[in-house]
């Protein structure tokens, strides 16, 4: 089954994103709390879309993004990676883009943008 991976250290945000996306598209939703978990889970479930918070303890989103791109499986390395960024962090966006991020959602993100994005990808 096609899947979406939601990565944020804040359980509140993970819950919000997964509740928003539940039943909207035929994706199975997975959650991870940091970059390390994210890379492990991506290797396992081959997500088509990854929502990746840029600022996390242990391994941040940029590093996780790079490692997901380097994963030795076709699906995850081709995933659409959507970075969740804080407003006004231009420099981070540039770094994330070079690490392989495709799209950006600025926090606080618009739930409608989130839904439209997943709708387009499904």
């Amino acid at each position: 089954m096609r899947s979406v991976l939601i990565v944020d250290d804040d359980p509140f945000i993970r819950k919000l994103v997964s509740t928003t996306l539940e039943d909207v598209a035929s994706f199975k939703l997975h959650e991870a709390a940091n970059g390390i978990e994210a890379v492990e889970l991506a290797a396992e479930v081959h997500p088509e879309v990854v929502f990746l918070d840029i600022d996390m303890p242990r391994m941040d989103g940029i590093e996780a993004c790079r490692r997901i791109r380097e994963l030795d499986n076709g699906a995850a390395s081709k995933a659409t990676i959507v970075m969740l960024t804080a407003a006004g962090a231009q420099e981070n966006e540039t770094r994330a883009r070079s690490a392989g991020a495709d799209l950006f959602l600025t926090k606080p993100f618009s739930p409608l943008d989130l839904l439209r994005l997943v709708d387009e990808l499904s």
Binding site: D10, F12, I13, P108, S110
Partner: protein, 247 residues
């Protein structure tokens, strides 16, 4: 120990507090964003609902005009009957008095006449029994034409039963009393009111007063007594105003 913390402890605590506050503020902003999107979605959905209602109405009117275009005499008969019918419904406090579906039914009541040949529809002499049978099929034909249109809901029952009589002597299903849908019972009164008060090839129009007397006379035979009672509550001046308004 309380009150014996070092400066380092205090600064660690302050830092932790600041981080908690930051996180709470982020959550709050995120919730506000959800609320804003919800509000916008609601407004858009409301606008679409109105748009949909307008286009349903325009579609129904177009269909209704197509039916009436064949009949130079009745003119805006359907629109007047719909307006009278909704007025009676208001007095009755009928559950459908705010319901656009029933108004659609009033407007479309004769749509089945598209299947009646001109030679019968226009025949000045009395109809033969066969011709009458064909003519009396129009409520069923109308119902069949509309039966797949979901948004018409109850309207389809008005179309099917608008020629039933309270005493069971009507058509097509010879329903009597409460078995006739209320909207169709209301329609029957409005229909006769308009037929009597407009010019027909064979006679001059009656006054509203005369029409009221005719309807009162048929209370309990052709018409539901309660619907007639509600109708009689409407001042003739109000009925006149509706007639002039629709044209």
């Amino acid at each position: 120990m309380p009150g014996k913390g070092t400066i380092t402890d205090v600064s660690v605590l302050q830092e932790r507090l600041a981080s908690v506050e930051r996180s709470a503020a982020e959550k709050e902003q995120q919730l506000e964003r959800y609320a804003a999107d919800l509000r916008e979605t609601f407004k858009r959905e409301r606008e679409r609902r109105h748009e949909l209602r307008r286009s349903y109405m325009a579609t129904v009117r177009a269909l209704c005009n197509a039916v009436e275009a064949r009949d130079a005499y009745t003119g805006k008969h359907a629109e007047r009957v719909a307006a009278y019918g909704m007025e009676i419904a208001k007095v009755l406090d009928a559950p459908f008095s705010e319901d656009p579906e029933v108004e659609f039914g009033f407007l479309l009541h004769d749509v089945g006449k598209v299947a009646v040949p001109d030679s019968i529809l226009w025949k000045p002499e009395p109809l033969t029994p066969e011709e009458r049978l064909l003519m009396e099929r129009h409520p069923v034909v109308g119902w069949e034409i509309l039966c797949e249109i979901d948004f018409l809901g109850e309207a389809k029952l008005v179309v099917r039963h608008h020629h039933e009589r309270w005493d069971g002597d009507g058509y097509p299903d010879r329903l009597a009393g409460d078995l006739i849908p209320l909207a169709a019972r209301v329609f029957a009164v409005a229909d006769v009111l308009d037929a009597l008060t407009t010019v027909r090839p064979y006679r001059q129009p009656s006054s509203i007063e005369d029409a009221r007397a005719v309807i009162e006379e048929a209370r309990g035979t052709q018409f539901d007594p309660e619907v007639v009672a509600a109708f009689m509550e409407i001042p003739p001046s109000r009925l006149d105003a509706i007639r002039l308004e629709v044209g």
